[in-house]
Subunit: 206 residues, 2 copies
């Protein structure tokens, strides 16, 4: 008996300029919210230290990636500093249809493409507390040359402009508070009336 | 310098059929969320045991209430089992303009009137886990005659139909989880992008 309420999983799309601490916030959120699964993107770039294939990314050769583009597998894909990144629409659909909730970690271009190609997402933008903090975090990363750092900083500013297009904004002043905000957004979205129409109807006798 | 972002307080409107445990849920939420103030309604009914004037309600004589109706003071008011209940628009406005967040506990008719007269609210409906639980809670209240209980039960069913018009639904299966849902809705609503435009603009250099 179909009751008309939304039963499919929901998906949170989280973006932030690099240096905002997004990865830490998302990991902590996922750890304390077992009901949400991380949507693993595909990429052609090499794993960084500590990154695990299939957990952080599916690391695939460029030829394989290009094949998947041709087959229309990606809900969004983009080239970023010479590497390709993409989200598989097929995998997303499979999880969501089973009622599983997903967290997607994509940049602002990816988020814009997703919004167009895969409706229904909840868009969350993480802001740095201020520009000094952002610059400091970008410098601390250390693995980049100064020029790369400056380029990332300028790009971060450009990305912050995109925050207006998101549903929610979370300021990463304190990690635990940012995690609590994302968790709250997730729980609130699960309380949306459209997800409860079946239950409401069940309580009303014919 | 006005930055265009929403700075006024937000208000949550919580409704539930009697016997759903709304008062307990709201009290616990308010206790653990010091940033939210309870909007004290006016009523002509007598205080119940344990109710405090100015905290639970402003208990006022019917003549005073009728005066306030005539002066257009109420954002919503209604007669309920022979007693009058109302929410002062003036008081609401004063708090919201100071940036204070409010919780309003009103019945479904009141919520409908509020939505029309005082835009901007976030509407939350609390559902009982099932009808047996609702009936049991209404019986346990004990202070009512059986006939009154049955009338309240029928009215509860009618009120549940109104849940479709709310933004969020919270099922009061376990009190702590229901409180967590209301808290999450509140925090999520504070993360709405419209409330952050000033901060975003601050981060973008001219």
């Amino acid at each position: 008996m179909s009751d008309g309420s939304v039963k499919s999983g929901l998906f949170l799309v989280v973006s932030a300029p690099s240096g905002t601490g997004k990865t830490t916030v998302c990991r902590k959120f996922l750890k304390q919210t077992p009901g949400v699964r991380f949507s693993v993107s595909y990429t052609t770039r090499s794993p960084r230290r500590g990154e695990v294939d299939g957990r952080d990314y599916h690391f695939i050769p460029e030829e394989d990636f290009r094949c998947r583009i041709a087959e229309g597998e990606f809900a969004e894909w983009a080239e970023n500093y010479g590497n390709l990144y993409g989200t598989s629409a097929k995998t997303m659909r499979e999880f969501l249809e089973k009622g599983e909730d997903l967290l997607l970690d994509v940049d602002t271009r990816g988020a814009r493409a997703l919004k167009k190609n895969f409706p229904g997402g909840i868009y969350v933008f993480i802001l740095p507390p201020d520009l000094d903090a952002l610059r400091a975090r970008l410098s601390r990363r250390g693995s980049e040359a100064r020029e790369t750092m400056e380029r990332r900083f300028s790009r971060a500013i450009e990305e912050i402009r995109e925050a207006f297009g998101y549903d929610y904004v979370v300021c990463n002043d304190r990690v635990d508070e940012a995690v609590d905000c994302i968790r709250s957004i997730y729980i609130a979205e699960r309380c949306r009336t459209a997800r409860w129409t079946g239950k409401i109807e069940q309580l009303i006798p014919e």
